[in-house]
Symmetry: C2
Subunit: 448 residues, 2 copies
Amino acid sequence: MAGTVASLALTLCTLLSTAYCYNYSTERFRVPVDHFSFAVNDTFEIRYLVNADHWREDGGPIFFYTGNEGDITMFAENTEPKYLGYLTSQQALADYADLIKYLTANQTEYNKSPVIAFGGSYGGMLAAWFRMKYPHIVAGSIAASAPILQFTGLTPCEAFYRIVTSDFEAASSECSNSIRKSWKAINNVTSSDGGRAWLSSAWQLCKPLQKQGDVSALKDWLIDIYTNMAMLNYPYPTNFLAPLPAKPIKVACQFLPDSKQEEKPLLQSLFKAISVYTNYTGKTKCLDIGEDATSDLGERGWDFQACTEMVMPMCSDGRHDMFEKKAWDFTQYSDTCYKKWKVRPQPDLAVKIYGGKDISTTSNIIFSNGLLDPWSSGGVLRSMSTSVRAVIIPEGAHHLDLRASNPADPTSVIEARRAYQYFISTWIKQYRKQQTKKKRLLSRNTTE
Amino acid sequence: MAGTVASLALTLCTLLSTAYCYNYSTERFRVPVDHFSFAVNDTFEIRYLVNADHWREDGGPIFFYTGNEGDITMFAENTEPKYLGYLTSQQALADYADLIKYLTANQTEYNKSPVIAFGGSYGGMLAAWFRMKYPHIVAGSIAASAPILQFTGLTPCEAFYRIVTSDFEAASSECSNSIRKSWKAINNVTSSDGGRAWLSSAWQLCKPLQKQGDVSALKDWLIDIYTNMAMLNYPYPTNFLAPLPAKPIKVACQFLPDSKQEEKPLLQSLFKAISVYTNYTGKTKCLDIGEDATSDLGERGWDFQACTEMVMPMCSDGRHDMFEKKAWDFTQYSDTCYKKWKVRPQPDLAVKIYGGKDISTTSNIIFSNGLLDPWSSGGVLRSMSTSVRAVIIPEGAHHLDLRASNPADPTSVIEARRAYQYFISTWIKQYRKQQTKKKRLLSRNTTE
């Protein structure tokens, strides 16, 4: 399941790079490589983007988008390997804290601005954790599709792929059954040289399948495509990780109406189905299974994080899901990580740092989850308190709520956004009240 | 005021080393040198002491003493200098988190134990910050005499020495006036070779005063002694930083009944006064002003911390306090730090990390302060919310409340300890309720 650790990496939020046009200026800010010691004194510049279209002077709020694994990768790939070890969630949060402190310093135009953090996917995790660790810097957070419970011991490893499966099942059970059967068909067909040649040609692979390892890579690549289609199962056409029609799973499943097909016809149908993802524009010349489904995000950084603190166990049983049976094998996972990065994953680290399910003491966080989104398996689906709220979007895929509004939006996401407005205005009021109270209470906090 | 950065270092809590006998076993636990990166993979062993005298099986609470600058110094002084940069409050908290996670892991006898942190002085700061940053690991904290507001921009730099002064003033105004006048007397007398020789002899200095620098050192040393006497102005005899009688300031001030004395007689009286601190046992052969008043605490580690994140501005004006006028000069402070440690202090770092006065969102912390204690200048003296409470002990010196009970205890400290009992039992109940609720709410948090 090596391909799937990259899945979260695929989700760099479209917010700042979508077809909808946003204005922003690109700024730079210097931060320490290591916020947590005085042993490493190197610094580097982070980029940040500023959109002031809706800026309200004299204390208007700052909406602080907590980035994603895509941006931070820039850093990881453009600096020396010796710095890669500092690519951690806590260093990222400390970067954000530095930046906000700088932006809201006394002399600035933002010095009375409450800060609302928001983000989706890994960025949503950062938004939530930012509020948990720096409540004095962030008044509240919208954490969209943030799988903060997708860690060892918190969520059954089967959950993720069951949701992917149920998305295909919802289109038609013939569809999910076709995929379920396809693995054996692939195994059988590719067991001979002739079969591998046939499939390479039928699927227009850029590099023909030569050996068994190539077949494994093909299957991992397929798993990623199904996963991405589930994440991106939006109600209108999008161009996020790939150009896609509205409801791509429904479109793809039209090519898989009969799970009882013979193996080769089944694989021919499957090719048409996955082409909805790989070649919706009709311009793809050949399928490159070596290239990850979203290679442009530069997911090496995320892969490193998945090999250190972001260990998210996943597995499939082939019965309650449409995938081949595959156990979660931490030892193998760890060995692969060590081979690639010379690090050993620390599966309990994120829970130790951020609390796992023990987050009842935090406040002012909304966790939103679309139930079409496989990452909802690790999401917070129940409100923890009056100010740590779960918002469920039954018809939503991966952080649909953070996208621009669209005529095809389901009612649930419109209502979710209304709820955010309400909570954000509450947090801003609370912030202003607290600032006043702080001044009153603590201005006298000096002893003569 | 170079000597005073060490003052906080002087306060290693007596709790585990007092004349009262406590039983404990000494254990060791291996932690990473750097909790916040994957670049440094070295580890080292921390010591921890376990007292199980009052341990109640099956879920009794763990009272976790958050150490002090004394213990952590062991590490700083016994390992390579390249590791010194990792001597930070956040690394210490992460050590504690690791240790508690290890102690309360599933298989252990402590797996149902809520953890209550407590500490005094810097240890009190750590106790408070521990709850702020790891509320999922600590159910609540008693932060005794914890000057978390003694940072740049939060507390006037004059406050600290005004409290020292008022402690002497409370004994008698002749006493504080004598000390106020003594600086000029020292300056005048030591302006000649003969005068320096006279003072060296009259005060039984181990090394005679040779040059002007020696006189500065002498004055810094005196400032530390007055400060320590204020911190240790306990109502019964103690042996914490030095063997002392009950109410040492009152005892010392008996030797300073007349501030109008001529300079040399005044300095002779002063010698008797400070001897209450330096030679209460009568066994001190000579006064070593090179040695810090509490050198045995190994304060090099604290000095490094004061030169990095623990920058606590202090100053005196000579009018509202009994010291020579001395401004807070950050540039000079920074240069001294750079000369000693090759680091530059970061005066805003602690506030950025921990919030300064913006701590309204935290919960379950008691900040206690004795008003005789100069460190109360940077303490939280007003309750922030129903669960972040300030407890004032008017007759208390530096974390008197953490000491064993004593017949001479003032009512205020007895009442404070009762309040702690009440709050701790509330926190424990809350913890148990939360654990039950968590199990109920989140056991269903998996999506089929």
